[in-house]
Amino acid sequence: MANDMSENIKDVSMLDVANANENGKKRSQNTIVQSFSKLDIGDHRSTPPLMRRRSTLIFDDDDDPPKHEENVGSEVDLSDDRVQHSAGVADPSLDPDVSADPESSASSLGSITGQPQQQGSAEIGTSRSNASTPQTAAQNVIPVDITWQQGGNKVYVTGSFTGWRKMIGLVPDTTQHGVFHIKLQLPPGTHRFRFIVDNELRFSDFLPTATDQMGNFVNYLEIVSPEVTPKQEVTSQEPAPHQHKRASKAEEPLSARSKLALQIGEDPDDMGDGYSRFHGAVEHQAAYSYTRDIPAVFTDPSVMEQYYLTLDQQQNNQQNMAWLTPPQLPPQLENVILNNYSAAAQAGETGSENNSGALPIPNHVVLNHLATSSIKHNTLCVASIVRYKRKYATQMLYAPLQ
């Protein structure tokens, strides 16, 4: 039962507004991912069985830097960590700057490993202790054509993907003068790079540009794993009927809480349905429509009260009032890029200050979350990272408490 409890606490953390929407998305993607991973088998001839077993979890490894074996290893223990997964899968169109903070992602993963999650994963049968190996992760690269078309004799490219140390030579195009190509195998994520043209550091005018923390102009590319595209194919259907369909399909016993959630919440976004999420929708083409309606359990105090009362009754006595424990913060939210700000400013080796406000590239799972400071002197500071076109703006708003 102790295990059960930790699960429940995890569930509560799903109260997070952003995650609420992602639940639905996640389920729909599971199916898509699976069909894709089957296609993938042809390409990755060396480890086809592995790909199949990992089908529902394919996105998670996408996020991981391939070089971090222990990272992948620790994730095995997490196969039931729904917080991690729902977030990781929610929006695969964007990846963290993989090379930028491998430590932090590794440590945040590591921090959960200690929790009693294994039982749950065995129950569900998605355990993939042998499934994910470093090789599978390493294959997760996408061929990217990098072109230089502004002349020169010798053209190299260097960037975050080589740690800015190695230079990779580009091959001159035989048909066009002054055009050079190279095909690189890059993991998904944001890569920054520059060209070295005849011993001069240059950037291309034909690729997206941004400034780094020192103010240097660099080119950057956001590489998205190809699995993303089918996201648009999700068709719309009434969420509520689906919810019931799925519930009846689920063969594994639902936790008390999950059942409850299904009873109370008409909305699939309800946080309680943790258990069945990984397998429930796998067999058939999932169909969802997104909603802006906040589930009644969050808006109507009487529904909320009812929810917690029922919850209490269904729990064993020793876990009474367990819901009073504050929810645990999903681990990925603990890495606040704003907290790295001053460090980033000091990192300027040339002594130049970080006066453009440059921050590390955020992990996409932290986007659109609201972070707050503690209230000091009656002033509240909230911050949120949002996309602005192909960049990320972290807005901090200071406002008084009225």
Binding site: T190, R192, E200, F203, D205, T209, A210, T211, D212, Q213, M214, G215, N216, F217, Y220, I337, L338, Y341, T350, G351, S352, E353, N355, S356, G357, A358, L359, P360, I361, P362, H377, T379, A383, I385, Y388, K389, R390, K391, Y392, A393, T394, Q395, M396, L397, Y398, A399, P400, Q402
Partner: protein, 320 residues
């Protein structure tokens, strides 16, 4: 090779400036933004004294304002707003209560009360060329320009970022290799503001210096000794430290005493001579956070000032 003759240098410089200009035309403000960056915004209902603390805490000197009732961008908070408040309080010492409870949206009233023309800060869309952003900045005599876009769904304004003259020039210094050809002495270019500069000495009361700042519409007042040698500078941003914590009773200090409040990481006063070249100036901009160069002669006497807008104007509009 006759590349060292004044004529050849002049031609090189002309081509370099044209090339830099082209660069500014080809890049947008959006291009200058880092892939990920922070932006500090303040609600207009915030108290002025709290906003000051926030600026100091975050080590910034300006922030865009947001009116949460109308969901609109409400201008920029800059050091000149604090200067206005100081002047208002100085001429209305009985109004401490009002000053103490003043909110950011009350700053316009203060402006009106002391008869200051509100700073006209135009904004620009991030996808407009940098060149346009620079022009707009120079037109409005402002040192920064907010980048404003509209949300596609809600049609509401989005404050994307704020660009400053310094940031643009640093960007040029870092990323335009052409700056190395700017080898003409700046004295030749006619870009230095010379003659009767506003100045003060160490014993001038700081409130007088603050008045000089608004009078001249400048961002700094050079401090000279009795012979006219440059010894220090009082910057508009120094007033933030002066009234830190909402305390306005230090206005009787001399400017020398007021400077003791300056934080230790003060960059120092940058000087140059008539014979220095723009390449050196740009190099300094690249390396340090400098906002103006005081022009001194061989003996260290102040003869003029070269501001960032002078440099920007030259790059934007000269050497056609």
């Amino acid at each position: 090779m006759a590349t060292n003759t004044p004529e050849a240098i002049a031609i090189e410089q002309k081509l370099a400036v044209q090339s830099i200009r082209k660069f500014l035309e080809s890049k947008t403000s959006y291009d200058v933004l880092p892939v990920s960056y922070r932006l500090i915004v303040m609600d207009t209902s915030l108290l002025v004294k709290k906003s000051l603390n926030i600026l100091l805490q975050n080590n910034i000197v300006s922030a865009p304002l947001w009116d949460s009732r109308t969901s609109r961008f409400a201008g920029l908070l800059t050091s000149s707003d604090f200067i206005n408040v100081i002047q208002y309080y100085f001429s209305n010492p009985d109004k401490f209560e009002l000053v103490d409870k003043l909110q950011l949206d009350g700053l316009r009233d203060v402006e009106r009360a002391i008869g200051v023309r509100p700073l006209d800060t135009g904004s620009i869309h991030p996808f407009k060329p940098l060149y346009d952003a620079c022009c707009k900045m120079l037109e409005s005599r402002s040192r920064r320009i907010p980048l404003i876009d509209q949300d596609e769904e809600t049609r509401r304004e989005i404050v994307v970022s704020v660009l400053t003259q310094y940031r643009i020039l640093k960007f040029v210094a870092l990323n335009c290799r052409e700056t190395r050809y700017l080898k003409r002495p700046i004295g030749e270019l006619g870009i230095i503001t010379e003659g009767d500069l506003l100045r003060c000495d160490m014993h001038t009361p700081v409130i007088d210096v603050i008045q000089l700042l608004t009078q001249g519409g400048v961002s700094s007042i050079p401090i000279v000794d009795e012979h006219g040698k440059l010894v220090n500078v009082y910057e508009a941003v120094d007033v933030l430290g002066l009234i830190k914590g909402g305390i306005y009773n230090d206005l009787s200090l001399s400017v020398g005493e007021a400077l003791m409040r300056r934080s230790d990481d003060f960059e120092g006063v940058y000087t140059c001579t008539q014979n220095d070249k723009l390449v050196t100036i740009m190099d300094t901009i690249r390396k340090s956070r400098v906002h103006r160069f005081f022009v001194v002669n061989e003996e260290g006497y102040l003869t003029g000032v070269l501001t960032l807008s002078d440099i920007l104007k030259y790059i934007l509009f000269e050497e056609k």
